[in-house]
Assembly symmetry: C2
């Protein structure tokens, strides 16, 4: 029986999502505690990994479990209510910075990685000569005193659509096909005074959002022109794009299935 799991985590204390020997990872914690809970080895497959230090507001994953074990745990019936209390019971075991937000049964052929049709990442930053500890909880601190948000918005718009994003992919990747589609983007300043860059697409390459943001910041501070974005994209050359922005501003906001 296949279970869909929506979950949320704070990435600060983890060496990324993906399980690695000898490191504390989100996947490692989930698999360990789900296996403990069900007294049965559970393999968790998420829609994708997130880097070290990156958080998720609403990530999705699935795992397969023996029907009898699940029904025994639920007291015999799969209902919204029994699945909600199941999530709460597993959350008691999990570290407090990882929470299962929702569990539900899905068809056995649904696969959260292959069937994820849309993901939204948010990247938060604020400008200040000196660090603002409150804002640094959720946003990257940029020391610049001003930045041209309109130019950043225009440059970001250039990336919308279906493109080969080789220029915005870390070079150490195994992925062959670097064509992805960005469906929507925005940059908004909120009432607390930090900016959020939102990027929605059908999939993201390794470090793609952080390299896009790094390039946008260089455009925002006038180190590059808006029109450079098109040249960088067309070049399919990682070395022409900007620096990879720090992980602490990045959060996976949501993932939608087909």
């Amino acid at each position: 029986m296949r279970i869909l799991m929506e979950f949320s985590y704070l990435g600060k204390e983890y060496s990324g999502y993906q399980i690695q020997p000898g490191k504390t990872t989100v996947q490692g914690e989930l698999e360990h505690w789900l296996s403990e809970f069900f007294c049965s080895k559970i393999n968790v497959i998420a829609s994708g990994r997130t880097d070290s230090g990156v958080s998720a507001i609403r990530q999705i994953a699935h795992f397969d479990i023996n029907e009898e074990i699940l029904l025994n745990t639920l007291g015999g019936r799969i209902t919204d209510k029994s699945m909600h209390s199941l999530a709460i019971r597993i959350n008691y075991l999990l570290p407090t910075d990882i929470r299962i937000v929702r569990m539900s049964q899905i068809e056995g052929d649904v696969h959260t990685r292959y069937d994820a049709k849309s993901k939204t990442y948010c990247y938060n930053f604020y400008l200040s000569k000196i660090e603002i500890p409150y804002l640094s909880q959720v946003a990257t601190w940029l020391k610049y005193s001003e930045i041209d948000i309109d130019n950043m918005r225009d440059a970001l718009k250039i990336l919308e659509g279906r493109h080969d994003f080789t220029s915005f992919c870390a070079s150490n990747t195994d992925v062959e096909d670097k064509v992805r589609t960005i469906t929507s983007t925005s940059i908004v300043r909120n009432d607390l005074g930090f900016y959020t860059i939102s990027i929605t697409g059908n999939g993201f390459l390794y470090n793609m959002v952080r390299i896009i943001v790094g390039t946008l910041i260089e455009i925002g501070i006038g180190k590059r022109n808006v029109s450079d974005m098109k040249l960088i994209l067309d070049s399919r050359d990682r070395t022409l794009a900007g620096k990879t922005a720090p992980a602490d501003g990045l959060v996976l906001k949501e993932v939608d299935l087909v």
Copy 2:
């Protein structure tokens, strides 16, 4: 010589702003490290206190210091640059969750408490059946699945203007005059999915923002009507208002002097 200090802090680890014997407070840290730095007892007077657990994005305070001591420390001249590096040097001593953002000389008769003409507080909250660790860094978690923001906005508008806010003041206060003016309010949802209630006024009573927010939440979930807000305000009776909302959603955003 009087120095104006803009500063920022994360309230989580502090028993509030105001100095108290045997407790770790923001004022206590500031006075201790400023006194250490200048080898001279420094008394810090802020625009107002914040409760235990409450943060500040931009708070202001002033202190008086012997001109000779200050000039010796600055290398002889008060300039924007020398004051900026002074702030950085003192920040090396301070805990990392308190930062002096700006220092400048002001006239000896300017007083950050008596001359603060406007303060803005923000209160952040999010709705979810299960906690979202990332959002809990800056926002209070409300377990409700829906809330009527339009009703909350309408109720909050009723409080704009000059009123006696006795109903929204903690009963254990020494303040006699409970008339304050709220100049603007808003409730906005941002791209990360949490809401920010912003309230700007010429001054706030003890727990005033948190009691207003607690009352708004009760209106938002339908436990009270929008029109109740006027009745509560007119009653001048704390027991008729809602519960005091948790401290973790509250942040002092900014303070302006006359």
